[in-house]
């Protein structure tokens, strides 16, 4: 029976009908106790009542639904097969097409992200969410170096985010450092933590590596919770100074003998100014990250990362020092995470270990995997989805996380390689040229 129920192809209408019939039959068996019978309160006693009308309706719905599902799946498959058969597109053509899609998406995303705060200049909620998306995009791009390019599964990435955030928080509250001074120092600190983590795990791979990185992430968090004199413990660090716009503070009243942002530009003070400034700040940081990582990917070090992901032994046989390659991946990934952490601390004004739990690491990793390992544009898509789905899900209250999980499962079933799994080569022998449709047409005619 199962062979019929789960048959891959129900090509002829009879086959489809029979398939749907079997499914409806299973529905009927399951439906009798679930739908057909129900308990009622009969004068203080428990009685059983039948609901066969509802059962029939449910079975009919299952039958029709199965028929429709089968039909649409087959239809889709046939259409795809037909397209593949007719298509004269070469692999290069398809690659070209995929790359064009990615490029177009990229420009649209860039345009939209620049325009967003202008359009929603008085909507605090939208700008806030967009800022969160961009933080995750930046974190995703950082982790993409480690997981997507170098293939080193890192489950403790949030540790570097925490190192960046706490470095800025401590440097600014204890030593009065500004945002821009603290940024490179915090990044460097996070990078050194990356190397620190990298050393003991050079020989590990796959699952083992994942477990150790998971432990590392927890160690950092536990230290932050327990070392109260250093990090403020569970209370965290508050009143972290906000970044200023080239020395202009976003305050209601201008400081003595100076200007605030609003007074300098002759604007009326609005709390939105700071939010929009923060949004553009993370946008610039994210774009710089993107430019940096895309450039690195095309350099020897980036190719070495990818080669390491593909085959470590072959790397060694080609004379590559895999130790340095791994450490550089960890260091660069950690540094980018650290930058994101600095921004996070500056934006929130308050940080505590609660912001750096394993869930954060898991979400960042999910962004990289759902986006398509190594794909920069995929990270943007996945980060947007993973931040927005729980937000839209707010209406569904307790089903929110269920929805979130289901969406992840569906994406992985639909696109096992991630949303954008196309990999653009770092160098080509022949520049891509789309073969002319006319030329392809004549070939077919001949």
């Amino acid at each position: 029976m199962s062979a019929i129920v789960f048959a891959r192809h129900a090509m002829t209408p009879t086959e489809r009908l029979r398939d749907a019939g079997w499914v409806a039959f299973v529905g009927l068996i399951l439906g009798v106790p679930l739908i057909g019978l129900t308990t009622v309160d009969v004068g203080g006693r428990l009685g059983v009542e039948t609901r066969f009308g509802l059962l029939v309706a449910a079975v009919a719905a299952v039958f029709a639904g199965r028929l429709l599902l089968r039909w649409s799946i087959d239809n889709m498959r046939n259409r795809k097969l037909a397209r593949d058969r007719v298509s004269t597109a070469t692999a290069a053509d398809r690659a070209h097409g995929a790359q064009r899609v990615v490029n177009v998406l990229g420009w649209i995303a860039l345009g939209a992200s620049i325009a967003l705060p202008i359009v929603y200049s008085d909507n605090r909620y939208v700008v806030d969410i967009a800022t969160t998306v961009l933080i995750y995009v930046m974190l995703g791009w950082g982790l993409n170096v480690v997981v997507g390019l170098a293939g080193l599964l890192d489950l403790g990435y949030v540790a570097f985010y925490a190192v960046g955030a706490y470095s800025y928080a401590l440097l600014s509250t204890q030593y009065g450092w500004g945002f821009w001074e603290a940024l490179p120092v915090s990044g460097a600190l996070a990078a050194s933590f990356g190397i620190l983590l990298g050393y003991p795990i050079l020989r590990l791979r796959g699952d083992y590596l994942a477990i150790v990185t998971l432990g590392f992430g927890e160690i950092i968090r536990v230290i932050l919770v327990n070392w109260t004199e250093f990090s403020g413990g569970p209370n965290g660090i508050s009143s972290i100074p906000r970044p200023s716009f080239f020395g202009l503070e976003f305050t209601r009243s201008a400081p003595e003998g100076g200007h605030s942002f609003a007074s300098f530009f002759g604007l009326e003070f609005s709390a939105m100014h700071r939010l929009i400034f923060l949004y553009y700040l993370i946008l610039v940081l994210a774009l710089l990250t993107h430019a940096f990582v895309s450039r690195l990917r095309k350099l020897p070090v980036g190719r070495a990362w990818e080669a390491l992901r593909e085959d470590e032994i072959a790397c060694k046989a080609m004379g590559m020092n895999t130790t340095n390659i791994k450490l550089s991946a960890f260091a660069i990934g950690a540094m980018l995470g650290g930058f994101a952490g600095v921004f996070f601390a500056a934006r929130q004004g308050f940080i505590s270990p609660e912001s750096f739990t394993f869930t954060e690491s898991a979400i960042i990793l999910a962004i990289v995997v759902l986006g398509g390992m190594g794909s920069q544009m995929g990270v943007v898509l996945a980060a947007t989805l993973l931040v927005l789905i729980p937000e839209f899900g707010r209406n569904f209250a307790e089903y929110r996380m269920l929805l979130f999980g289901a969406a992840m499962v569906l994406i992985m079933v639909w696109k096992p390689g991630g949303l954008l799994s196309h990999r653009e080569p770092t160098v080509r022998l022949k520049p891509l040229q789309r073969s002319k449709p006319a030329a392809a047409g004549t070939e077919v005619a001949q």
Binding site: D311, A314, A317, M318, N321, L429, K430
Partner: protein
């Protein structure tokens, strides 16, 4: 005929894994600019020899002395695997092909030139700013890769993902990639495995070209006798980790020890026949 200079001399090499002795007191000379074949039944220790030679295993005892033509003498057993390829220029291929499957053929060949390029990119700093020095180095690397692709008739596949290509072609890519490292000694682990007769013949031609025209010494593990016997100048036969014969293809072919190792002993067969009867 004058005896050629020795490029690599293996002296009393022993490799033990716990109680198992994979290589037992093996000594072998690999002459410069010649093709040396290594044959032997399955499990004889041929690939273990390669792993010792290229730094993947540390031999239990014994020395592997390489007389590098320009960089002086080196002891390969003291070098980690990446330095065997980078500094000693002893480069290997693998029995079960190890390409970078998702990268294109061209990228595979450029990754092989990593050390040269990494130095030219000044550890990515010059590369990040696209300085002219780095760009020239990259152009040269691409040209070099293109040259080998041309020579191995792979040019039309340069921009395809290496993992998607047929087996025989992947074998050729692996050799092309090894050549991009600029080897003085090329160690090929069963390069003809899975090739059809025409492809094997092409492989023969390639090996003779590499050795004859470019003077690259080749160490060849191979089961395909049409390859080994036709191209090798010198053959070493290993069985149970020991060298049982060494010499020209002709002498090895007629060596009673070798025949015994491959076909078994007559008495044994008779004894087994008797037992069965």
């Amino acid at each position: 005929m004058n005896t050629p200079a020795t490029l690599l001399s293996v002296r009393n090499l022993t490799m033990r894994f716990g109680g198992l002795t994979a290589i037992d007191d093996l000594s072998l000379e690999v002459p410069a600019g010649k093709i040396t074949g290594i044959i032997g039944p399955n499990g004889a220790g041929k690939t273990t020899l390669f792993n010792c030679l290229t730094g993947f295993y540390k031999p239990t005892t014994g020395t592997l002395r390489l007389a590098h033509p320009t960089r002086g003498e080196m002891l390969l057993e003291k070098l980690p695997s990446h330095r065997v390829a980078r500094d000693a220029q002893v480069v290997r291929t693998f029995q079960n092909i190890r390409l970078f499957p998702k990268m294109t053929v061209l990228e595979n060949l450029i990754v092989a030139q990593h050390n040269v390029l990494q130095r030219a990119s000044m550890f990515s700093i010059a590369g990040l700013f696209k300085l002219p020095g780095y760009r020239a180095a990259e152009r040269k690397a691409v040209e070099r890769a293109a040259m080998w692709l041309e020579r191995l008739k792979l040019t039309h596949l340069a921009d395809d993902a290496a993992g998607d290509l047929p087996y025989g072609i992947q074998r050729r890519i692996e050799i092309a990639r090894a050549l991009c490292v600029d080897p003085v000694l090329l160690c090929l682990d069963e390069p003809a495995a899975g090739l059809n007769p025409r492809e094997s013949a092409e492989l023969n031609e390639l090996l003779l070209y590499l050795c004859g025209e470019l003077g690259i010494a080749i160490l060849l593990i191979e089961h395909d006798m049409s390859v080994v016997m036709n191209v090798s100048d010198h053959i070493g036969v290993i069985s149970y980790g020991r060298k049982i014969a060494e010499g020209t293809p002709e002498s090895v072919r007629n060596d009673p020890e070798v025949i015994k190792a491959y076909l078994g002993e007559d008495e044994e067969e008779e004894a087994m026949g008797g037992a069965a009867a």
